[in-house]
Symmetry: C2
Subunit: 427 residues, 2 copies
């Protein structure tokens, strides 16, 4: 809207944005939301996405992911407990020409949990008061639909891109990114990528990583009536936990001055999510396990972060007479997410900032995100500069009555259409 009509490319970008069709976006998002698609059950949603891509004339590829091959990759993080995974990519433009851009989004959702907790049914999308409700509306089927809508707008305007855009519809993001890794291994990287996770329209050129851990703490059983004769694994777990809290404070202190993380008190938290220990109320517990999530700074490797936690637990054990003889065990399990960082002066960051600023009528906010997603794989395996950008508030994800705001979806789709033109160029 603020595009300079004197610039041809700016005018083309504005034209693309003005062709964004919200009815199409809502229809595509609703089609996807209606198909439950949690881990291992994403094929129907992927086929629907492929049909939507074909429907707007994208060059569409659907393929069966070679699971054992992908799992052999050193950056593969998931456990192989699925039978099938499909990859779907739709391409627009001239792959042999100018700059190439990836728009990446996942169709897998987390299960809805207790349906009683939902006001609106999870798989029957509905718009109420300017919000689209349903499982995956926020994380992130509507954003995938917004990417598709941006491509549709460019097609509808008959804009010839100098470069190319690939819309990657992936599976398994919630469990560590098998789909994105498979797509990178098949297609290679690009000159830039946008992971369309919800950022409430802020531009995130930096994303924290994370990795799950489990700490097993041993005690010594005794009857609760003579608890002095035992050693409570619960008390020892608290000793370890206190050391972990101190580590978290030490790890986050140097990031206080990073403007991209200024909004967070603790951008790289170490959060204990579950604790379980003991078998009987009247016994001193001889085992406690704590499971949690270790936030990883974009300026360190996963293995540095892991080493820091392991060293802290070992040091805490050395300071305790019992634990020094029965050291806790740290295990690493489940999905993990690599961190990512792209310089704020990169052409993709500039193009996206300008485009969403045009839509919002004010300067876009630049801000890092602390949640893990597929950006790290695109950067580290695909060697692709990556930005995270999308509609909606991530703190509503994985909850009942998940929703995304329609006005944000529209701004997102328009900003993507502009960004594609600005970054890939028009012939």
């Amino acid at each position: 809207m603020n595009a300079d009509p004197g610039s041809t490319l700016e005018a083309v970008a504005a034209r693309a944005a003005s062709a964004v069709d919200m009815d199409f976006l809502l229809s595509a998002a609703s089609t996807l939301i209606r198909i439950p698609s949690w881990k291992g059950e994403e094929s129907a949603a992927q086929r629907a996405m492929a049909a939507l891509m074909e429907g707007i004339g994208l060059e569409t590829e659907t393929w069966t992911i070679n699971l054992p091959m992908v799992q052999d990759h050193p950056e593969a993080s998931w456990e192989l407990d699925r039978d099938e995974a499909l990859g779907v990519t739709g391409t627009l433009g001239n792959a042999a020409g100018g700059p190439s851009l990836i728009l990446n989004g996942h169709v897998d959702v987390v299960p809805p949990g207790d349906p009683e907790l939902w006001t609106y049914p999870p798989f029957d999308p509905v718009v109420v008061d300017g919000r689209l409700y349903g499982r995956g509306s926020l994380d992130m089927k509507a954003q995938l639909a917004a990417g598709l809508t941006a491509l549709n707008a460019i097609r509808a305007c008959r804009i010839e891109l100098a470069g190319s855009v690939r819309l990657q519809s992936v599976v398994g993001e919630e469990d560590g990114g098998i789909g994105t890794l498979a797509a990178i291994l098949r297609e290679g990287g690009a000159d830039g990528a946008i992971v369309m996770e919800p950022t409430a329209l802020t531009v995130a050129p930096v994303q924290a990583g994370c990795v799950n851990f489990r700490i097993r703490v041993t005690g010594q059983a005794a009857h609760g009536a003579v608890r002095d004769e035992g050693v409570s694994a619960f008390e020892k777990a608290f000793h370890v936990f206190t050391a972990i809290q101190e580590l978290e404070a030490r790890r986050n202190a140097p990031h206080r001055n990073d403007p991209l993380f200024a909004a967070y008190t603790t951008p790289f938290p170490i959060s204990i999510g579950t604790i379980a220990g003991g078998d009987w109320a009247s016994s001193v517990p001889d085992h406690v396990a704590m499971e949690g999530r270790l936030g990883v700074s974009p300026d360190e490797s996963l293995s540095d972060a892991r080493n820091a936690l392991e060293r802290t637990v070992a040091d805490a054990a050395r300071r305790d007479p019992f634990l020094s003889k029965h050291p806790p065990v740290v295990e690493w399990w489940g999905g993990r997410f690599l961190p990512a960082r792209t310089r704020v002066t990169h052409p993709l960051v500039r193009a996206l900032r300008a485009s969403i600023s045009d839509e919002l009528g004010h300067d876009a906010v630049l801000k890092g995100v602390t949640f893990g997603a597929d950006a790290g794989l695109l950067q580290h395996v695909g060697e692709t500069p990556v930005v995270i950008f999308g509609a909606g508030d991530i703190s509503r994800a994985h909850r009942p009555d998940e929703f995304v705001e329609l006005d944000q979806l529209e701004s997102m789709a328009c900003a993507l259409a502009r960004t594609i033109v600005r970054f890939c160029g028009a012939a």
Copy 2:
């Protein structure tokens, strides 16, 4: 052995002790151990016990406990999740004559757990190196057999008691004492009672009580990536736990000078036995439950002890901004055990001390016990002065390869035979 031959009663007591038949004791104990008899499955063991009593000519009563009636009693503590419970009592002597004595023991055992952890099979009793192994050998079928053996010795010597002894074989001790409560309600109390739990032959005129609790602590869920936006129920449970540790120290300090509890650092412990909280490693946990055991001093009531814990949790909550708005909930559940105390100058304590001193050749140790058992019911409902006394080390109870020392069993049976004569008198 040190009995004064000048005293007729002492001579009779010595004669009774010398008639103790260890083959009979081992045979009876083995018969009972061979019959698995955990909660709700004790009837076969009770019938076997009745047959053993009849076999030595006791006046034996076996009856079906009226469960709903007994459960209505204010001191009933268990949950009604059993179909059947039998009471068995064998009586010797003249119930209308001199002092009456109860010998109380339970046939219920705790389940054996993983059989792989046992060197000797749990239900196939075996003697190795002077120890009888098997589930219930220590807690407390062999002690019940020792009581039976003491009565058999008196019968074998044709001693006519001035008073009477009732051998109570009970069920459900491990879950709060349904069997002992039922026996008291049916038969009333006596002039004295010995609960034959393992005390390693020390004489325990005082026993701590205990009660199970559960503390539910609430937090506020958030994604682990933004853990500052949530409130960890685990951290809040730690806050509550610290207050409980301080309460435990305060509650135990006044008992430092009680000679009967001098051997214990913490005679009335507050032990957390299980902890469970959170659903997902990457979420801030919004619920944690801690289950534990509150030790009750013999000089306080259960309700005083409960109030102290509830007040401590409430005070800790008031000191915390979040918990003051979301106070933890304290629940009381499962079996509970009343504390008991008999003055050390009571005739039964004197008789038992003298008898076991005779057997050991040195002064018996007087010492309180911290585990819960049926003594409190006998004292508070049966209005019967009660002592806890038996062979074996209680710290081996509820474990694989539970065992009891044969020499202790023999000393126990002989001391019981002497005590019966001394306390009930001989005609």
